[in-house]
Subunit: 253 residues, 2 copies
């Protein structure tokens, strides 16, 4: 397929590389900063541009990976085209692209960082199209780069997105807090890695519902009190500890 990318951030970069690696042709890369567009375009053998209205309309698919807030304006600035216009945002309805005849969503469900390679084959891709023709085409593209393709409504995708905030963003926050706590006692973060891996692994083998351990679920009030005392110099951390402990005790009865 001939594909153009709007955006040159983490998602556009990883997606663009996976598409090129599976024999799709990337035609243009747009970014508001021409420098960013050029950098990614060079990697993908594509043309860089910072002018949306001049975009080459003669492609099969235009993928928009920009900040959610920018989506409506980007959608309206695109030239008229027969290409499918698809965005990659978890929390935005497909309808933001309703201005275009053929539109849909291709949402790769993973956390992307510039410096960290990912294996796209393992990344679930959620698909939605405004017609069965569009849905099929998006399925076809997604199938070429991933083993797990799921048809999902905008509402389902939005629910998955908020679940991801808990399972990824809020999880990383817990890791970062743990890292800080260890630093205060000159202990290395690597000490935590087997525990972190096992916790992730256990959730996938047993389900989180069956994997909860620790003082909160054991109702071990003396340990809980001791921990709160250790955190008393950091009232925000103590408050967070208490709220998370309360939530565990309500959830696991």
């Amino acid at each position: 397929m001939k594909i153009s990318l709007i955006g040159a951030g983490n998602v556009a970069t990883h997606l663009g590389c996976a598409l090129k690696a599976h024999d799709h042709q990337i035609i243009e890369v747009f970014s508001r900063q021409l420098e960013n567009a050029s950098k990614l375009a060079e990697e993908l053998d594509a043309h860089p541009t910072d002018n949306l209205s001049q975009l080459n309309a003669n492609v099969d698919l235009i993928i928009i990976s920009v900040n959610d807030d920018a989506l409506p304006q980007v959608s309206q600035s695109l030239p008229e085209t027969n290409a499918i216009i698809a965005h990659t945002a978890g929390s935005i309805s497909m309808d933001v692209l309703a201005f275009h005849k053929k539109h849909g969503v291709l949402y790769p469900f993973q956390t992307f960082s510039k410096d960290k390679k990912v294996n796209f084959k393992d990344i679930p891709i959620l698909i939605e199209g405004n017609s069965s023709e569009v849905t099929e085409s998006l399925q076809h593209v997604a199938n070429s780069i991933s083993n797990t393709i799921i048809l999902a409504s905008s509402q389902q995708r939005q629910q998955l997105h908020i679940a991801a905030v808990f399972a990824c963003n809020f999880v990383n926050l817990q890791y970062a807090i743990a890292e800080d706590l260890l630093k205060k006692e000159n202990l290395p973060f690597v000490l935590l890695l087997p525990l972190i891996q096992e916790t992730a692994h256990k959730a996938s083998q047993l389900s989180p519902q069956k994997s909860q351990t620790g003082p909160a679920v054991r109702r071990d009030q003396s340990v809980i009190n001791k921990h709160k005392k250790q955190l008393e110099n950091d009232p925000e951390m103590a408050q967070l500890y208490q709220l998370l402990t309360d939530t565990i005790q309500k959830k696991f009865k």
Copy 2:
């Protein structure tokens, strides 16, 4: 070494199996419920008992793996012995065992569930002894079952324990919340597994400090507002979402 185990819970079970597999001899297993002691003792070719004061004192090491609250009483009920008495509790000072001539701590830093096998070689073990002789003996035992042995004070161990509550217990809570959110839209939990694995992997490769993604750290208020609206039927979840978002925004500037 000749070793006896006080307790027949998750830690005692996994530790006992690892010790036996590495040619230590397990002499006795104590549990207040003789049935539990018998079950584990059978697995370890040991004698079961529910009578602490009658414990065979003629061993090298007695490992106490009981609920934190029970530790002081168990310590006082043990017969006089030349054996090293060591507990396995992260958050309890070594001094709880000061009643005994040779005492220390052997804290395997991992989350244990009965039904989930773990590879002890990968589990860091924190060691503390009340004399260099005790410390060396505990190091020797720990070395026979794990590749990572760390000498740590009671204070360091307590800090590691609270860090583990964040990096394991509170992390599993986030997974469980995500699972519930998906259920509401009939989406399978397996969808989240690549994200969960990648989040854990990224933290170990890049450090959590560099791995934070999502609407909170991007200050993407429109997504945050949308998520809070999605959670408005569950005020506790909405409160948790807000507090975790605030914490991320203060922590990552």
